[in-house]
């Protein structure tokens, strides 16, 4: 397993390098850090603009710039300097990751629990009214545009707050600007802020996962060993959980691992609507600031997420399913 992981990670290195190179070319050709400076009123002097070009490394050949970026990353662990003053890319990316992680962990927990329950119940009661109802609801969530749903949810939350005269839902930010003192009140504050974005993402993610869980549960239920277990006279509960659920969870687990990569790279829309300064907003603001190194840093981290989560998905598969041998 370890050997396999190491080999996979080593295999990923050329992908990463190739990917950074392609992305570097793309970023270099589309994100011009000079843009904001070209239209200042009053304008910057030509000498100042030249000085900026040097500062941003635009006077060097493209390959040289890529090499500088790569060696900076590999030798010094830096993402290069930002075109913004007082902006440390690594540090800001760290904050963004922490914020996104909070969102993602909450989302996955809720979505996973929902998905497993709904998936199992609908599989066991396949073609029942309950199955049709939950399937329809699931498909409805699958068909909702994220921001449309988020806007509605926010609207309802505010109406709820106003109608009840409470402040149960916070509509913005990951915490209050000046959170209350003490651990518990702070936790409560964070929880209030988490409800809406987490519910948004969780409902949208659970829908796909519950379909997945239903499908694999159905497959397991139809398998010979389940029939055998039932024939042996084991209690239905025991059959379902010891034999059924355990095996049916395998595909879902790997799927969740894969989807996590996408969530980690930033639920751009959810983060925008709820003003969570996570990975998604980091990227959008990097583009708005026309800051190539920020964009590069974000893309690199995202690529690493994808590769690592892919690996984890494969490893999980092997751990959970003894029939799979990694080689």
């Amino acid at each position: 397993m370890l050997v396999y992981s190491v080999r996979r990670l080593i295999q990923s290195i050329p992908i990463l390098v190739a990917s950074t190179f392609v992305i570097f070319l793309m970023v270099a050709s589309s994100v011009d850090p000079m843009t904001p400076y070209l239209t200042k009123k009053p304008p910057l002097s030509a000498a100042q603009l030249d000085s900026l070009r040097v500062k941003f490394g635009l006077t060097k050949p493209l390959l040289q710039r890529y090499w500088d970026w790569l060696t900076g990353l590999v030798l010094h662990g830096t993402f290069g300097s930002s075109t913004q003053t007082n902006y440390h890319i690594g540090q800001q990316l760290g904050y963004a990751m922490e914020v996104t992680l909070r969102l993602v962990v909450g989302t996955i927990l809720i979505a996973l629990i929902l998905a497993v329950i709904v998936g199992v119940v609908t599989a066991v009661r396949q073609y029942s009214k309950l199955d049709y109802a939950t399937t329809t609801i699931g498909f409805l969530f699958l068909s909702l545009p994220t921001f449309w749903f988020a806007v509605l949810l926010k609207e309802w939350a505010i109406q709820f707050n106003e109608a009840t005269g409470t402040h149960l839902f916070d509509t913005l930010w990951e915490s209050s600007p000046n959170p209350p003192a003490g651990f518990l009140p702070q936790l409560g504050d964070a929880a209030q802020h988490m409800i809406l974005p987490v519910v948004t993402l969780a409902l949208l993610s659970y829908a796909a996962w519950s379909r997945f869980q239903r499908a694999s549960m159905l497959e397991v239920l139809g398998s010979d060993y389940m029939r055998l277990a039932r024939a042996k006279g084991l209690s239905p509960f025991r059959v379902m959980f010891r034999h059924g659920l355990r095996n049916a969870l395998i595909p879902l687990t790997t799927q969740v691992a894969l989807d996590t990569a996408a969530l980690l790279s930033g639920a751009v829309i959810t983060e925008t609507i709820y003003s969570w300064r996570g990975m998604g907003l980091f990227f959008i603001s990097s583009i708005q600031m026309a800051d190539p190194n920020s964009v590069m840093a974000w893309l690199l981290v995202t690529a690493v997420f994808v590769i690592v989560m892919n690996l984890i998905a494969d490893l999980l598969y092997a751990v959970l399913d003894p029939r799979i041998r990694l080689a």
Binding site: Y4, V6, R7, A327
Partner: protein
């Protein structure tokens, strides 16, 4: 391995010489090196005369299917020669191989898996003709003729394989193999997947076709009973090697090798009374791993004969590999065992 299967008579249409097929085993370390090999086929030699049938018999995993694939170059051999009409298949170019395939065809074991479920039967049978550019204006006629030849109703040509029974499917497979009018047909357990009641029908068909078209068969099977009917010569394989090869009658009547004897003793006898009295030779233990075959005689770990031998004789089994040669029976009856001289 210098001994060859020397049946007197005409020039063989297919000669296999010292055929070896090994599958590499890769290490599980970070850098994947080849650290060993599965010795699936370890030096097999035989000849097939035109219009004759060679039965190739052995347990599952003994290498007989690999042999048949290597002969057709579906899995390239590691070493050795496969001479088809005197020309070495293993050294053929792509184009030569394609031409060779017109003359040497294969029928597969599983009539369900070997037919593409998405294609109609007439298209399946027409495919070889199309591949080799022979599907002209009379293509449909040829296909209908082939279907009739194997006993299928040509009107069913536009149906899909799943609409046919197992026996019918195997006939489709045979019709496909015959479409190019081959000279040699490799039959890879063509009836093992079929019900016993249907097996006879297919075997009869194969015999009729051989008579009609003058085909040579390499008939691969895992038990001797099927081969008995159809084979002119029979080769018995154990763990990648031929342990005994002889004309059909000679093998069944005068088998020398303990393994062959064990196989023959396992054939059920239709008479219940005799069947009850039949003395069975039980071979003990499991087949050793082909990745690490026993030294000397490969059968020695399970050999009933070896248990009766003196210690020195038994030591010879593990020290020296028995040569496949005439052990006193003549008439091309070759055996690979140190202790069976007649």
């Amino acid at each position: 391995m210098t001994t060859t299967d020397t049946t007197a008579g005409a020039e063989p249409i297919l000669s296999v010489r010292n055929l070896v097929k090994e599958f590499p085993i890769k290490s599980a370390s970070v850098v994947r090196r080849t650290i060993g090999a599965v010795h699936a086929v370890s030096g097999v030699s035989f000849d097939i005369q035109p219009g004759q049938t060679l039965g190739l018999v052995g347990e599952s995993g003994c290498g007989k299917t690999t042999t048949s694939r290597a002969i057709l170059h579906l899995q390239p051999a590691t070493s050795g020669e496969v001479l088809f009409q005197g020309r070495d298949v293993t050294k053929m170019s792509k184009g030569e191989l394609r031409r060779m395939r017109r003359d040497m065809q294969i029928v597969f074991q599983d009539p369900y898996a070997s037919l593409n479920p998405r294609i109609t039967v007439s298209e399946i049978i027409a495919e070889p003709l199309r591949i080799h550019g022979l599907y002209g204006n009379d293509g449909p006629g040829q296909v209908a003729e082939l279907m009739r030849l194997v006993g299928l109703n040509p009107e069913h040509g536009n149906r899909f394989p799943h609409e046919f029974s197992g026996g019918q499917r195997q006939r489709i497979g045979i019709a496909r193999a015959l479409a190019l009018k081959p000279k040699v047909l490799v039959l890879d357990e063509p009836v093992s997947a079929l019900d016993v009641s249907i097996q006879a029908g297919v075997i009869n068909l194969l015999e009729d076709l051989q008579d009609e078209l003058g085909l040579a068969y390499l008939f691969v099977a895992h038990d001797l009973s099927v081969v008995r009917h159809i084979a002119d010569r029979v080769a018995v394989m154990y763990l990648g090697k031929i342990v005994e090869i002889a004309d059909g009658n000679s093998l069944f009547e005068r088998s020398q090798h303990p393994y062959t004897q064990a196989l023959i003793s396992a054939i059920p006898i239709p008479d219940p009374r005799r069947e009850r009295e039949r003395e069975r030779i039980i071979v003990q233990g499991d087949v050793p791993s082909p990745a690490d075959p026993p030294s000397g005689c490969r059968f020695r770990t399970r050999c009933p004969l070896r248990m009766t031998l003196s210690e020195t004789d038994a030591a010879r089994c593990s020290a020296e590999e028995p040569e496949l040669r005439d052990r006193g029976l003549g008439a091309g009856h070759l055996t690979a065992c140190h202790f069976v001289e007649a």
